[in-house]
């Protein structure tokens, strides 16, 4: 007998991984948002591009390099670096071709947003033409190429396992108690471990850059006021270029790890991530990394617990779990009140984040950690 029919520890870990993924993918958006003051909808395409670029570099290097069975060179870190550079250059390309000129003609922030939608449309469909619109990897040309990235061979063996099995609560305890308390073991894939590690490294690196380097200070000055930064001798044009490179590049870097962890991906993957990513930035408060981290955790845990609870509602009949004690009264109560039953589908898990976002913004329009700005219309 168990108390719950879910492995709570595993669910908590999954939410942690999702939060780490959101943090990795939102750092760049937060930077662009705070420095350039518009919502960049093309950010979703940086994720897609990062996925495709890491996969593509795997194909090229496997084809071109001599056989590298121990993965000393051709590994996930190299692929992520490749994605970092290419996606970063793509971010700069957008600045050179579109945003710079828009700034020159003093377009409204709405024009910037719509232009970013256009850039996203172009990038998504261009990728579909080059790499195929079906979920890749399905178009490997060379016969002996694989779509599975590997972890670097020079790492200690502890750090490159395929899957980690962590026993938190020993089996003896549950045997002694006669039931499982909150589950007992956790499974994490190697890539998921790297998503968590990389998000931590990224947060601390970006935090260091922002606080302690000249470039970071220049960037914060630019984000506060472009004109004042220029007066103080900051080369704002260069700062904006570096911001684009870093923001897009970090997103692509994170996307490489996200791709490695999932069996297949398509040119719509980033587009479907667009709203969760924006929800994190807005909920945390634009320009606040701390807020972004808190918001990522809030959204990830809300999503995961929605999955748990709403999956409970899919079961019918008494199964002897503790959750049944409150499930049936709640359902009959709803039926009495509304006259019909609501389908508590686990697919609502993605929507819960938006509901939280809407509620929080009504109470605190600048986000959890955001500061009130005196500016008016953006977008």
């Amino acid at each position: 007998m168990t108390l719950l029919n879910v492995n709570l520890l595993q669910h908590v870990t999954l939410a942690l991984i999702y939060a780490a993924m959101l943090i990795m993918l939102t750092i760049g958006l937060n930077m662009v948002y705070s420095v350039l003051k518009f919502s960049n909808f093309a950010h979703a395409e940086y994720v897609t591009l990062g996925m495709f670029m890491s996969w593509w570099s795997l194909q090229i290097f496997t084809n071109a390099l001599p056989s590298d069975n121990s993965h000393f060179i051709n590994n996930l870190l190299l692929q992520a670096m490749f994605a970092f550079v290419v996606v970063g250059l793509f971010g700069i390309l957008g600045e050179i071709l579109v945003y710079d000129r828009l700034r020159f003609i003093r377009a409204s922030p709405r024009s910037f947003t719509v232009a970013s939608i256009g850039i996203g449309l172009i990038a998504r469909n261009f990728l579909a033409m080059v790499f195929g619109s079906l979920p890749a990897p399905n178009k490997s040309i060379c016969a002996d190429c694989t779509s599975l990235s590997s972890l670097p061979g020079w790492l200690p063996k502890v750090l490159r396992k395929d899957i980690y099995h962590i026993k938190i609560i020993p089996r003896e305890i549950s045997d002694m108690l006669g039931f499982e308390l909150i589950g007992q073991d956790i499974f994490i894939t190697g890539f998921e471990l790297y998503i968590i590690l990389m998000s931590i490294i990224m947060v601390f690196t970006v935090d260091y850059i922002f606080r302690h380097t000249k470039f970071g200070i220049a960037m914060r000055a630019t984000s506060d006021s472009l004109e004042l930064a220029q007066v103080s001798g900051v080369n704002t044009k260069r700062v904006i270029f570096y911001t684009w490179f870093l923001a897009a590049g970090l997103t692509g870097f994170g996307a490489a790890f996200v791709r490695a962890n999932q069996p297949r991906f398509s040119n719509f993957d980033g587009y479907y991530m667009l709203l969760p990513i924006f929800a994190v930035v807005i909920l945390g408060g634009v320009g606040s990394f701390r807020g972004g981290i808190v918001a990522a955790f809030i959204l990830a845990y809300a999503r995961q617990f929605t999955v748990i609870i709403f999956t409970e509602f899919q079961w019918t009949g008494d199964r002897g779990y503790i959750t049944d004690l409150f499930k049936f009264p709640f359902e009959s109560m709803l039926e009495d009140w509304l006259g019909f039953t609501i389908t508590f589908s686990p697919a609502y898990a993605d929507g819960i984040g938006f509901v939280i976002l809407i509620i929080v913004l009504l109470v605190r329009p600048q986000g959890i950690f955001g500061s009130v700005e005196a500016t008016r219309a953006r977008v």
Binding site: R101, L102, G118, C145, T343, L361, P365
Partner: protein, 453 residues
């Protein structure tokens, strides 16, 4: 001053009918029209040609109504609503489900759908209009997704029930089936419109075999009834679109519309003269939701089989493309943009056109083969993706080089107020306008110093 005088002199040499806006419109419209007409004639037979043309026109009407409602918010009031697709979904779903499943009278179902759509617009607007514009955009996009999820997941009352089996996600419109079924009324209408000369018509075009095969089709859905259905839809849609156009134009011309434009330009000034900006905002959002609900009802009737995943934010982005190409704050612009973009999208759906835009570049191509071999690329240029790339490029080119769109918003005629000013006041006002529209710092400083004198 010298340069502006020189500019005005050189602009006088160009005839009025050949100014840059016309050239731009022709440069964009001519290739699209050419593509569309060739696509029209590449359809295999008369039937396909006719339904292709009617389908395009009806789609234009649907999206024109949607674009008008978006343009009322974005163009006239500067409120960037990115959740328009939710009202499409509400209009299409509620009207279709009420008629097809819950068996409510057709017109009543449409009215209920419109009311619900307006109500949802009102409920969304009340808390959100006070937010900053970028938060408003994200809130509307998130609200739209939540509404789509409800339609997608509520199996018990939002899915289409099937007699033997579980409900399906695809909603089909029973109204179309009823109208296209063979019935005495439909047959008579079809005869009236088409039957008398049908034999001659097909023989003239050398298409007697089409006529024969059509005649042998199952009685359930004959050529005449489908034709009548499509024509009726087109006529009704056109009437609705014209009425909506008239309504939106009335709003824009009225003092109410002037207030909206003032809010767009500077909402703090409008507040300072005693107008309640929030009230204007929720009113317009509700009106636009109502209109967009109408577009949704039309969507449900035209496409007659749809599902929740059709209503992703991409549809809203398409509406933005339409109004930006056409020109913001301008009903005629919304029509031009919708027409051109829809014609382009439909022309590239024809199989024979698609063949011309297909190119395969891989390791087995002649010249660049080794490159693709090294780069491990297998590029398949196909029209389905290429047309969206082209549309994105057109959108960005418009934003960069022609932000006002094909048909710019007409300037308000202020002459009767300006004539009250003295010459000095007038020149300083002109200078202020020039300073505001200046592109470089130097121009701005010149204009400002001129205005100060």
């Amino acid at each position: 001053m010298d340069s502006s005088e020189a500019g005005s002199q050189s602009s006088k040499k160009i005839p009025d009918w050949l100014n840059s806006e016309w050239l731009l419109a022709i440069a964009l419209a001519a290739p699209i029209t050419y593509l569309y007409i060739s696509a029209l004639f590449l359809n295999p037979d008369v039937v396909a040609k006719g339904s292709f043309l009617i389908g395009t026109l009806a789609t234009i009407m649907v999206f024109f109504v949607g674009a008008l409602s978006l343009d009322l918010e974005v163009g006239s009031m500067g409120l960037p609503n990115f959740g328009k697709v939710a009202f499409f979904a509400i209009g299409a779903y509620i009207s279709t489900l009420l008629y097809s499943v819950y068996e409510i009278d057709f017109f009543v179902s449409i009215i209920i759908a419109l009311l619900i759509s307006g109500l949802v617009g009102f409920l969304v607007a009340i808390p959100t209009v006070k937010l900053r514009a970028d938060y408003f955009a994200i809130m509307t996009i998130a609200g739209g997704e939540v509404i789509r999820m409800i339609f997608q997941n509520e199996k018990k009352w939002m899915w289409y029930p099937v007699l033997d089996g579980p409900p399906t996600q695809v909603i089909s419109n029973r109204f179309k089936l009823e109208m296209t079924q063979s019935s005495p009324f439909n047959e008579r209408l079809g005869e009236f419109l088409f039957y008398q000369k049908r034999q001659d018509f097909f023989d003239d075009w050398g298409l007697g075999f089409v006529y024969d095969s059509l005649w042998d089709l199952t009685k359930a859905m004959t050529f005449e009834t489908v034709f009548v259905w499509e024509m009726t839809l087109l006529i009704v849609f056109t009437v609705v679109a014209v009425l909506t156009y008239w309504f939106v134009q009335q709003i824009r011309k009225s003092p109410y519309g002037r207030t909206l434009r003032a809010i767009r330009e500077d909402d703090i000034t409008v507040t300072s003269v005693g107008k309640d900006v929030s009230r204007f905002r929720w009113q317009v959002t509700t009106i636009a939701a109502f209109i967009c609900g109408f577009a949704g009802v039309m969507y449900g009737l035209l496409f007659s089989a749809f599902e929740a995943s059709d209503f992703r934010p991409l549809l809203t982005f398409n509406l933005y493309i339409f109004i930006i190409i056409g020109g913001l704050g301008n009903s005629r612009g919304a029509f031009a943009g919708t027409t051109l973009a829809t014609m382009f999208m439909h022309a590239t759906q024809v199989e024979r056109v698609k063949e011309n835009f297909t190119l395969h570049l891989g390791p087995d191509s002649d010249v660049l083969g080794p490159f693709f071999e090294f780069a491990q690329l297998d590029v398949f240029i196909n029209p389905d993706n290429l047309k969206l790339v082209i549309l994105g490029v057109i959108l960005i080119l418009f934003l960069l080089f022609k932000p006002a769109g094909l048909i710019p918003e007409p300037k308000t005629d202020n002459e009767k107020y300006m004539s009250l000013l003295t010459q000095e006041q007038r020149s300083s006002s002109d200078a202020a306008v020039r300073a505001r529209q200046s592109l470089t710092e130097k121009e701005r400083i010149e204009a400002e110093s001129e205005g100060a004198l």
